[in-house]
Symmetry: C2
Subunit: 211 residues, 2 copies
């Protein structure tokens, strides 16, 4: 809006290396751990190059978000003829992947960064975060739900609302608690069980088999 929006165009390998280094610094020390001087030192590049490539600090942060989002690949949408068991397995996979993504170090650090800056400037980073990171996995879920409905495994009226309910059943308050740094909230070994339970509840609400 106020500036040329960072497009999907790839950065040079050198720039990507710098961005990865920046992400690492951000994960390690939070927003205060990511300074231009520190990044230049850690990435063996000059501050001048950083400013030449990304404009200013906000441009760097936006580039980091775009770069990280470009690395997340949406799971292939194998919507071939699936039976009910496969559909349930796909939903469970999605739930598990969602929990894994949200609990990732880089994801948490970037979300913390975007949230910390959300108060002012109408949150340009927050918008980027939602559009780049969220839409992708959301689209995967939407396609999955649509396929399940078409085959009669589930029924619903509003697809968006249904997805949001599914999301709530999976994530609950885990995301915010992880963002707050609550150590007990990150238990990846329980993600499988949590995904199973969420899918079970989702079928209880929207399934067509029993009831």
């Amino acid at each position: 809006m106020d500036q040329a929006v960072i497009a999907d165009e790839e950065f040079t390998p050198r720039q990507q290396a710098v961005l990865d280094c920046a992400l690492q610094l951000l994960v390690g020390g939070g927003e205060k751990g990511l300074t231009t001087a520190g990044l230049a030192r850690a990435a063996n590049c000059s501050k001048e190059s950083i400013y030449k490539w990304f404009g200013d600090r906000d441009g760097l942060l936006a580039a980091m978000i775009a770069h990280q989002a470009s690395k997340v690949r949406a799971g292939a949408d194998n919507a071939h003829a699936m039976d009910g068991e496969q559909f349930r397995a796909y939903l469970t996979d999605f739930a598990h992947d969602l929990l894994d993504v949200l609990a990732g170090d880089v994801s948490l650090a970037l979300n913390r960064l975007a949230i910390g800056q959300a108060s002012r400037s109408e949150s340009r980073l927050g918008r980027l975060m939602v559009e780049r990171g969220r839409r992708r996995i959301e689209a995967r879920a939407m396609a999955l739900l649509e396929a399940g409905k078409r085959r009669g495994y589930i029924r619903y009226e509003d697809r968006e609302a249904t997805y949001h309910t599914f999301y709530g059943l999976i994530v609950r308050d885990l995301h915010v608690r992880m963002l707050l740094g609550e150590a007990g909230a990150r238990r990846p070994e329980q993600f499988a069980a949590m995904a199973d339970e969420a899918v079970g509840q989702f079928f209880a609400l929207f399934g067509t088999e029993t009831e």
Copy 2:
């Protein structure tokens, strides 16, 4: 832990006024909008007094959280003989109150602050935030669930898990989206409908009336 933990003891009225002013600054400008000099100017007090009262900046932030938490009053737990309709109404009230609290300006600002600082220092503020703000409303919900179970309106095994599911049905991904500054996420006029729907889904999962 590392310092004398701020207890519930009340601050002096003068100090509370300063804390309220600090909260206002935080709401208005985010973390960067809250500086000691700015607070001193806005609250007509001296920086030296701020440091004398609260120690350092972290102490001020912790005091702000404690102060704000002390203002949130948990709804009276009217667990008298209630019928199913009343129980459902209580749950709906809880859901609506929860959405209102999470969407509040001060709550969002404090959560953003705590999340922004959660990366380092093992998130002392985050812990404070969870313990002070969350436990209270959580306790109210727990008591409500317990009463509903005792009277046979709902059934469940794990009370904590049941509460978390209820929370997920109510909040979905709204909280994080509001924290990210997504304008479309704050629609207080829809909170009533959302609370209704969440309670309906909750009963579909845990209710005993119509299987």
